[in-house]
Symmetry: C2
Subunit: 460 residues, 2 copies
Amino acid sequence: MSGKGNQSPSDGDYVNYSHGLASLLESSGIKPGDRIRISYKGREIEGELMPKPEIGDSDVLVVKLDNGYNFGISYKKAKISLVSTSKGTISFPKASVKNHGGLPKVTMIYTGGTIGSRLDYKTGGVYMLAKPEELLYEVPEISELADMDVVPLMSVASEDMSYLEWKRIAEEAAKAANSGSTGIVITHGTDTMHYTSAALSFMLDGIGVPVVLTGAQRSSDRGSSDAFMNLFCSVAYAAKSNISGVGICMHASSSDDKCMFIRGTKARKMHTSRRDAFRPINDLPLAFIDSKGVVSPNPAASVGAAGERPRNFKPKLGFEGKTALVKIFPNSDPEVLEFYIGRGYKGIILEGTGLGHLPVSTPHKEFNWLAKVKSAVDSGAIVGITSQCIYGRTNSNVYRNLRLLSNTGAIHCGDMTPETAFVKLGWLLGNHKREEVPALLGKNLVGEINERIRYDQFLV
Amino acid sequence: MSGKGNQSPSDGDYVNYSHGLASLLESSGIKPGDRIRISYKGREIEGELMPKPEIGDSDVLVVKLDNGYNFGISYKKAKISLVSTSKGTISFPKASVKNHGGLPKVTMIYTGGTIGSRLDYKTGGVYMLAKPEELLYEVPEISELADMDVVPLMSVASEDMSYLEWKRIAEEAAKAANSGSTGIVITHGTDTMHYTSAALSFMLDGIGVPVVLTGAQRSSDRGSSDAFMNLFCSVAYAAKSNISGVGICMHASSSDDKCMFIRGTKARKMHTSRRDAFRPINDLPLAFIDSKGVVSPNPAASVGAAGERPRNFKPKLGFEGKTALVKIFPNSDPEVLEFYIGRGYKGIILEGTGLGHLPVSTPHKEFNWLAKVKSAVDSGAIVGITSQCIYGRTNSNVYRNLRLLSNTGAIHCGDMTPETAFVKLGWLLGNHKREEVPALLGKNLVGEINERIRYDQFLV
């Protein structure tokens, strides 16, 4: 037990550990954060002892391996010994953000999420960086691309984002554009990044500069983290691209060779954990950005070039919070529509099957949605129809059941994903008169509806 | 106007047409079903005049082109003339199903859907074939593969299917297996085919023969119809495969070169209209079937061979109809859980974001799901967590928010799609004691949960 020094572990260090495990650790002079060796069944592994999360078997100790993964084992099945003590806190390079001057000004708006997280030594999960600038310390190449301005706006996990946060982000982005930024990078958790990118696409329509959402599927203390390359490519795109408007920049493939920029209304997180989880839906990537920061617009994608930048851009921040997204499934209960109408909901996007079907001719009356959709529309709510297939577009005509549904006044949402249709409907209801909304919902406003879907836009 | 004969069109022929259009058609001697020529803007097209659906502009006449697509134009903008009169009804070959005898017996259970549909000359939509056998008339090659037994069980559109239909289909399949069929083909609409295939996978576990669901994305009177090849390949698989159990056989690609067989619990309709819409999720196709009927098991896929066929197989038909699938989205209203619990629901699958997240740490109390999930579980309901990413698997541990959620007693559903998890939960609640369900939901029973996801199982 050499090298431990004189520190005496306090009770606080062993919170959530069982009495037996805490006693063993204390008697061995081991504290969370120390590097330890675990011997079991003839094997030996080394890693940093993690603090105990509040949940789980309190006899199990967990170490973070050098490959970034965690390993847990009951202390009763293993021998443990100290290798070296913790350096106290994670050490970051002490450099500050250095701007050379004379480069394009890029504003980075920090909102939280895995890209700004590291291992949390209090809960065993992740914690947010003390300062968003820390992210930039790890990618010094960024200082060759842009003069960075970092705005620590909020620290909210992606799954906790709501339209209230979307408004704050949109306001901040508009402020940055109006103050002369060439481009804007927004770091964001990945779970709902495509909802946020859709919302910003509508709220920031006409902003005149590139607005790039980026994040990470793996936290920045893991060897396989995508945080740094995603950030680097996003800054490159924000500094150099002449395509204005909102999109997502993340890994194009699982290797670290390039990122892609996807239209904000046509993106979707399609995998829980892969680094190339974000894919364009019924669309192609608008550009690729390689690891040298070279931005290559995709000649096969149709995009407008950046317009003249407005002098005093005003975002359209309205959003009707009483907007719901409801998935249809076999035997689904149409009464749920009455639940939402009763709660004052003004808009409902239905995620139908196939071409936008609901059960409307079923022999089982309790599963028939037709009358409930009609009465929701008649009560003044806007009902939109999308497809849970995700790829492809809805159709209001091919089958009799589809025509019956259209006849209620429900609006078919074309090739929008259910998520984009939900965001668009909330935004329309927040910024337009009710009577204008049905026509606008089915009409392309900012690239969210493609008139034609190309053959190569499936499973891209 | 030659060739029209002596028939006088009755008013009934022009139902839903505007007075002006009906008058023009009558004076030109044209009835729905006749072949007409339309001249407009210097162009000419020909097709069959369709009857007018109950919905749409009554001045517009619609013709079915030779390529199977419809074309509509206002009669005020075009000149129309008769080319030839209708032959009256669509003519099918008059052959009956011919069984050579001595071939494997395959039972085809007909349930409805596009594969059994043709243009409906009354509504302008589709109608169901008068006899399911008509499908076989168009694929005479099938008589070389199997001795067919056709069971016209029901004619229900896919979107109208419920667990009540699943039970009837499962019973009929069990009956066929017990009466000596080598394999079973179930023709079904495509919209919810993957829900049905998941349900049958559980209900028919142990049936000992291949059970193949198939359908069509384009109706059989369209040149691009996939109905015939899908049916041919499905019969080939049912007759020849030594993999027992339930799956979906549809086009592997957009060309007509081969079909693939996808595990019933791992399939999903991923496109509204493409012929290759059905894809394996977190899995690989189990087999390919080419246009000659050759069945090639996929060596990269893991499947069990057919076991000995049970003598008197009994399907497990229980299903708890009070099971819901609820999608989470930003600002989503957690009160919807109370709605379902209040309606007597016993099981709820939540379609979370990313690794299976819900908003549980949001600063906006009205959007926080944590307490509502806990009280749903505490009230005795089973709550399962899936991901709307579709690909990948949920995780109960990486982030603090995930651990908070697990701590409520909600069950993570691994790499099951939300749809399969929903079906499994309803089936478990219908066949097992409540207290057994949580452990079974997270455990692989019939191939619905993969311990590992291969790199090549994304966007297959």
